[in-house]
């Protein structure tokens, strides 16, 4: 399809399809029935200093310091750094390692804050008329407000907007295709106006003329709410896509709405697109209009093991245990899992001390009957079910063989790095092979190898450079000696020519003198018997 025809089709509202995909049970009704509730204030908060993709920012508070709600705890130093803020007013009680929300259960620096219960805010700095402000200033504000993508990897929003390239469309992602999660659904139902205002700010900053708002057709209430507000925004249009997992994946949604594909290893901006999640759009509006930093988000707490499933405004840094306590969770089964994120892409938590962070969209506590734990892994029977559902058009069974055989070249040949880890393949695999687990492991191994290779390369280069230097120095030294010897010879020759003593004669004379002296000493020694010998007798 030509570019012009493509643009026309997009304008006409065409919805394309993406290959593969699955239809797991939705289970959204478990959590989307009630309005978003506020979680009461906790006594302690644990704020990891790094909650986004990129480098950590620099700490700017110390232990014992009083902080106000929304006060930055870190300063955005380096370019990818993003500050974090105090979720409430209180005292910094410690700064040190703590477990963070990460699939590997790793630890990182966390700031612990003892709440004073007053929740006193730091004075906000709103910028109601952002259109009058310089673009760079507005971006700086977003960065200082700690805004990161709330839908996925937590990429700093300002960073994404700073890439100044022509943009055809801003896409606002309200798909929420993972089963169980309804945070974006509720947010759209209750705060459509704020979301669209945020979208308008994003359009202004990205210099995008048009926006597409995408919602899956299983959220009629959210669609209605957004539609009602959209009348104010003629350059934004609604796109309703059929329910299928993973239509909310960035690449898949782009394919659905535009028929374009993000090039492998490329970015959406390479094809003139920019995507932001509805939660992010909401946070952007709050940060600019109200001057509020990102200190809370909507979290879906759901699963049959919680008493009060629903959506909650949760301050970032609230320990998961606190959330679960309030929502009435009791551990009754040793096989209980706590999943941060959805059932397809979320990860399990080892304990409940882990805090809620910017990317926490869901806490899922399924009963064991509800989501049966993985069964025994069996051999691949090459049934091809996985290939049929892979939205990236990979061959998961081949990847699996290659990953098990550690054939890294083969894996790259089969485009392992285009796997979005959506889990559709593992979902359908009748042999219950944890395919994604193998891919993640292989990816990590390949990255490690590449790093080691790069390191070895640097070391080799250094070694070679040193060899070259030593060689050069040796040559220079020899050259110096040779020159010095030549100069000496020349000087002697000139001296002789000038009629002076041949220096060679002077040397001979000196040797003769030394010999004479030695002979005299020996003679003297022979005449006088040694005193040593006497003593020895």
């Amino acid at each position: 399809m030509s570019t012009a025809a493509n643009s026309k089709a997009i304008e006409a509202g065409q919805i394309w399809d993406f290959p593969g995909g699955i239809h797991p049970p939705q289970r959204k009704e478990l959590s989307n029935q009630t309005p978003i509730a506020k979680l009461p204030l906790a006594n302690t908060y644990v704020v990891p200093v790094k909650q986004h993709a990129g480098a950590p920012a620099e700490l700017c508070v110390s232990v014992g310091e009083q902080v106000l709600r929304g006060q930055p705890l870190t300063r955005a130093g380096v370019s990818l750094g993003l500050p974090v803020h105090a979720p409430t007013s209180g005292t910094v009680t410690s700064i040190g390692p703590g477990r963070i929300a990460h699939p590997s259960g790793m630890t990182d620096v966390v700031v612990r804050i003892e709440a004073d219960g007053n929740d006193t805010p730091a004075p906000p700095q709103p910028l109601p008329d952002y259109r009058q402000a310089a673009r760079a200033d507005v971006l700086e504000r977003l960065r200082n407000a700690g805004i990161a993508g709330l839908g996925g990897a937590g990429f700093p929003t300002a960073q994404k907007l700073a890439l100044q390239r022509p943009i055809d469309y801003l896409i606002i992602n309200g798909i929420e295709c993972e089963p169980y999660i309804s945070a974006d659904d509720r947010l759209m139902r209750e705060h459509a106006a704020t979301i669209l205002d945020g979208a308008a700010i994003l359009m202004h900053l990205a210099d995008a003329k048009k926006a597409l708002i995408a919602i899956e057709d299983n959220k009629p209430e959210a669609i209605a709410a957004m539609k009602a507000e959209l009348t104010d925004y003629p350059n934004m249009s609604l796109r309703i896509v059929p329910t299928k997992y993973p239509s909310g994946g960035e690449k898949q949604l782009i394919q659905l709405l535009t028929g374009r594909q993000v090039p492998s290893k490329g970015l959406p901006i390479d094809i003139g697109l920019l995507m932001q999640n509805v939660g992010t759009a909401y946070a952007v509006s709050r940060a600019i209009r109200q001057g509020e930093p990102l200190i809370e988000r909507v979290v879906t707490v759901t699963g049959e093991a919680v008493e009060k499933p629903g959506n909650y405004w949760v301050r970032l840094g609230t320990p998961v245990g606190e959330v679960l306590h309030y929502t009435g969770f009791q551990q009754s089964d040793p096989a209980q899992r706590i999943i941060m994120g959805g059932p397809m892409m979320g990860f399990t938590l080892p304990d409940t001390d882990v805090p809620v962070v910017k990317i926490t969209n869901c806490l899922l506590l399924p009963s064991v009957q509800e989501l049966a734990p993985a069964q025994h892994e069996m051999n691949c029977i090459r049934c091809g079910a996985c290939a049929d559902v892979c939205p990236a058009q990979l061959l998961p069974q081949q990847l699996q063989w290659l990953a098990k055989a550690k054939d890294y070249d083969g894996l790259e040949g089969q485009n392992l790095f285009d796997c979005i880890e959506c889990g559709a393949c593992a979902y359908v695999c009748p042999s219950e092979i944890p395919l994604v687990h193998y891919y993640r492991k292989a990816k990590a191994e390949i990255r490690t190898l590449a790093r080691e290779k790069a390191k070895a390369e640097v070391a080799r280069e250094r070694f070679e450079a040193r060899q070259v230097r030593l060689e050069r120095e040796k040559e220079e030294r020899l050259e110096r000696h040779r020159k010095a010897a030549e100069a000496r010879k020349k000087a002697q020759a000139e001296q002789v020519k000038a009629g002076g003593d041949n220096p060679q004669d002077a040397v001979q004379a000196a040797i003769a003198r030394a010999k004479a002296r030695k002979a005299a000493q020996q003679k003297a020694a022979a005449e006088q018997p040694s005193s040593h010998e006497d003593n020895n007798e």
Binding site: I22, K251, Q261, D351, L371, A372, N379, G384, L395
Partner: protein, 352 residues
Amino acid sequence: MTFKLAASPHSHQRRTTQQVMRWVYVALIPGLLTLMYFFGWGVLWQLALAVSTAFVVEALSMRLRGRTIQSAWQDHTALVTAILLAISIPSLAPWWLIVIGTAFAIGVVKHVYGGVGQNIFNPAMAGYVVLLISFPVQMTSWPLPTQISQFELSFMDAASVIFTGFTPAGYDLEQLRMGADGLTMATPLDSLRTALNHQLTIGEALQQPIFGTLAGLGWQWVNLAFLLGGVVLIKQRIISWHIPTGMLLGLAVPAALAWLFAPDQSVSPLMHLLSGATMLGAFFIATDPVTAATSNRGRLYFGLLVGFLVFVIRTWGGYPDAVAFAVLLANMTVPIIDKYTQPVAYGHGGRS
């Protein structure tokens, strides 16, 4: 308080390999019953022999490779191999035939290549071909459909023929295969070939009592029954339509062309479709996922190739049925098919 850790996804579709295989067994039932109806109790004996051999060989192989029998047996591939082989060989063949075939299929074709998922050749068909080459007489001695046979064999009679070569009444297999005219009868496909070689037209050849209304007597129903089972498998999404459709088209289209141009010398497409192992091959054998092509497009090509090879071998080859050879030849081309039909991954320049 600690919680269970697990890798994502945490949700899983409730269809395990065992369930998949259960559907395969269910889908085989109509064909099996029809086969027994026309060819007697021998079918059941062959099945029993094949399954027990498969179990013993699987256990020995796993013992040699230092693993437990459960881990291999539970994926059902050995069982399916045994069943397919048992269905494919003549129902009154001597007992050692199926034992050798199954042992070879599982012990060599499957395990020597490293177990399930690693073998290049379809084990059942490799076993079949080894038997066909080594024991051509036994492998082509199909008994007559019970309807036109002069003998009615009981369950124990069949066992007696399989294990001793004689019925309790003292008839041997050759005698059992004699028609009312006292001539040994070959299978429909065989008879056709012989007739054509003797310059008979198809019309004349079809006068023989071994042919029914559609194709070979008995065989037409057996094929229809396997077709029914195959459709169930596709409906249940156990297999995709690509290989069966490809194979049936690959066979029917050239057959139709030949029939149009030389109706007297060619076997009709319908006869091709409903003869020998066509339907069993299309839905149950060529679809073996381990040895077929990987992508759906590749599977279509694979199926077409199998079908075309069946046509070629049946028409010009020296063996009565061709499905086994066709499948094995196509197995060899799988790496090439896979190479040229690998789907374009997202973001690599493909079109939406």
